[in-house]
Symmetry: C2
Subunit: 136 residues, 2 copies
């Protein structure tokens, strides 16, 4: 896995630890218990999945549940993250990787970004989520 470079710092900082833990949890949960992902979103959350925009935890959970595949396995190639200083505590996470669908021979390359925002329980929820397959 290729992470942040040392240039300008950032490697090992608190927001990076949170981002990496989130990425581990998110894709493991996606691949083993996709229905549990809805709990990561809130009422104000937005998901753009291949250009389709869905808002709110309930709608996002429904969208994820209805994706036209059952089994899948994500493997992560890169994780980049940045804090959002103008919005204390927020973290931007940018992921690239491969997605293997059950019964398919070839892997699909994808990129995805998240904005994580602190919640009142001292944890984070996904405020923004944008997913794209990388064709061509």
């Amino acid at each position: 896995m290729d992470g942040q470079g040392k240039e300008g710092g950032g490697a090992g900082s608190e927001y990076e630890v949170v981002a990496r833990a989130f990425v581990d949890y998110y894709y493991q949960t996606f691949d083993t218990n996709r229905a549990a992902l809805a709990a990561l979103y809130g009422n104000t959350s937005m998901l753009s999945f291949e250009g389709h925009l869905v808002a709110g935890a309930e709608g996002i959970g429904l969208k994820l549940a209805q994706l036209p595949f059952e089994q899948c396995r994500h493997s992560i190639c890169t994780i980049d993250c940045q804090p959002t200083p103008s919005f204390p505590g927020g973290i931007l996470v940018f992921v690239s990787g491969n997605l293997q669908l059950g019964g398919e021979e070839h892997q699909l390359r994808f990129s995805q970004m998240f904005q994580l925002v602190p919640n009142q329980q001292g944890s984070f929820f996904v405020q923004n989520d944008i997913f794209r397959l990388n064709y061509g």
Copy 2:
């Protein structure tokens, strides 16, 4: 160019107009007058370029100027954008496309995300910028 879907709205909304105008300007400027890009960033801005993190408009301008190629041409495939309701006026922009370097036969696939934040002049600056090439 493949934009946002109609699901959940968003097509043609104000933040989307800003995002598209920004994307047009950013890549046209990158390809024709790269030095002018530094003006889009502020003192708190961060750029992650292929895993290397740089902070501040000056450092980012230097990084962009020192990229190891002269001529390049971006062609945009998809633009996704979302507002950041928890931070009024902020816009997340997620771009995928191809990058043709001068003298190279093959195009490189890339993904890039920006967080645009309003400035005091009624315009926007790039608070966060993460760029990755999408290898095989």
